[in-house]
Symmetry: C2
Subunit: 400 residues, 2 copies
Amino acid sequence: MTSLAGATQDEVRRSNLALVLTMLHRHGPRSRSQIVASTGLNRSTVGDLVSELVALGLARESAGVGQGVGRPSLVVEPVAGAAVVVALDIRVERSVASLYGLGGELLARHERRHHQPSFTTLVRHVAELTQRVLARAPAGAAWVGTGVGVPGVVRTEDGLVRFAPNLGWVDVPLGNDLSEALSQRSGWSPPLQVRNDADLGARAEHLRGSGRGADTLVFLTGDIGIGGGMLVDGRPLTGAGGYGGEFGHMRVNPRGIICRCGARGCWETEIGRLALMRNAGVDEDTEVGVLLQEAESGNRQAMAAIERVAGWLGVGLANLVNIVNPQVVVLGGHLHHVYAVAGPRVDREVGRALTAAREQVRVTVTDLGGDATLIGAGELAFASLLEDPVGILAACERAS
Amino acid sequence: MTSLAGATQDEVRRSNLALVLTMLHRHGPRSRSQIVASTGLNRSTVGDLVSELVALGLARESAGVGQGVGRPSLVVEPVAGAAVVVALDIRVERSVASLYGLGGELLARHERRHHQPSFTTLVRHVAELTQRVLARAPAGAAWVGTGVGVPGVVRTEDGLVRFAPNLGWVDVPLGNDLSEALSQRSGWSPPLQVRNDADLGARAEHLRGSGRGADTLVFLTGDIGIGGGMLVDGRPLTGAGGYGGEFGHMRVNPRGIICRCGARGCWETEIGRLALMRNAGVDEDTEVGVLLQEAESGNRQAMAAIERVAGWLGVGLANLVNIVNPQVVVLGGHLHHVYAVAGPRVDREVGRALTAAREQVRVTVTDLGGDATLIGAGELAFASLLEDPVGILAACERAS
């Protein structure tokens, strides 16, 4: 229950400013009339809010493309160079950094491959990547936040990585150490937030990907490990401590093999990249693309390997459909390709979920390329600006 | 994002009234000072709100038990007889009706056993039960709502039961037909809402049971079928269409038996009441209590049967811990007894969940007896009064 007792005029104005800025950031340029229509605010309030955003430098107005007679209507658009965020995606084999401007425009992207670096080395590499992308920020841009994705279980409050088996990390202070490294290099750094990579992927698919418009969504991405993220009613479902969404460790096969987590028959052991290679009887470092090509050119063993993964993929998805009743399931990583090649096998198993939940769900693949985590990290980093543009810009000015 | 644009003085007052009434209903009598402390409202606002609740007949003030010198402090308490709800729990072998007063006081309870009644007969029985409990309502009490639990998958909007295998129902219009039957008998009936029984159980455990204080909670109850409900951040997680929480149809054993839903190896086939009897090699109508006694008096086959169910219970719970990261798991029905007898076996399997999520979770048993669904149905029926006391009381007065 929300008490409105404390809502003053000023809070109402700030909240409306946030509403309009968020709309411009998420949905792009629109006329004042469109803003009036979609916010329910009156025309003069919208006029005041737009003027304030223009004065803050966060929006500009320009003549839109006229579609009739009379005055050309003005279009309000976000200014990409006014505020930027750094998005970081730490993966097993490389790290990627992006710089996004307000409105979600990609301003710079760099990556660096690595092979089992120490934690200290990795922090240094990531700090260097951050400097490289920040060097591309437009003059006068406010750096308002940093978002980081890692393939592991993260304590949200301080970015401690509790467990990231594929990086070999247990209780590693990524949030603190990276924040410190960035501050040292730049003399200052805005708040940095660390999250599980697939939780960020779910956020990205919801806001800008295949799951746009779906408020209840499951995102599942495959690499060596299986990453999972979930939104319910538009909000991330991460559980009591932020450790939810570990779909990969759902035990589906009591006669399966032992997982890296110590349990037997985890979903990950049946649908992870290594399972694909094990099923096909090829070296575990084989590229997924090579196996797919083999299957498509008629190699029956390759096809059988993919079909087996597709079957287990469907079994676990049916479980998630029964448990969560999502509108959309978005598949990324190699699961994207497994679905492209053996979709019917997946669908058949999903079809064994209970009718009511199953008939609502749409299983689809990511349309964000490999960048769902990065985009989600960027959106996370923009969140505080979108909630309180005046306060955050003032804080950045004071600090930098 | 919530826009506060429309918050008028009147809305603020109504929202605060709701806040204070909800507190009295959930937590019982308290002094004005305690209300001031827990709402953050100032003393004069609280005074006005209490006066308004007293004028509406929903609260009364009386001298509390003094604990010191000086004026005895006044205690504000909810008036149970001011507003009542009917709670209905439709089970496979019987239906139960309760009448609850404001504050959650049980005013009447009746039940009726049945054996595979037709839908029409069942609706008539439940309408009769409702009349019987309503006859016990204090003079002048406003009947403000009816909540109904069923062991099945329910479409929330209109109470259509999509699938209730143990009642043999598919797409049965329980909400409409029962609402009509109640209106005919009483000349009028307030809004009636139907939900899955375990979703209501989760609500009850959160508000008044073993899960009190836990905002992220899984409730699991066992009978022939397995019912599951889940709250995340204090809100029911029911998914896109309200069909989530069907934990019983999570497939855990690919070599298991075929479930009534058609899939193989559903959790329900390993932990349902029939699994217990099948494992023990006894007739499937055997009472759970009999089997428990056998086990406790040293019958090794009975104990092995319970241990096997306990193991599978733990496997599925570990999955839910990995997926949802709850603070508390509350077990009801025969799972309550399985846990009481073979808790260590359950805990051992739950211990295979990932460390971060596992170390936070508390597995416990219901302390609401068999009434979790009824209590949850009552709370559901009270929700609209608690949100808008003035509006709902006025509507009841106009209608009745």
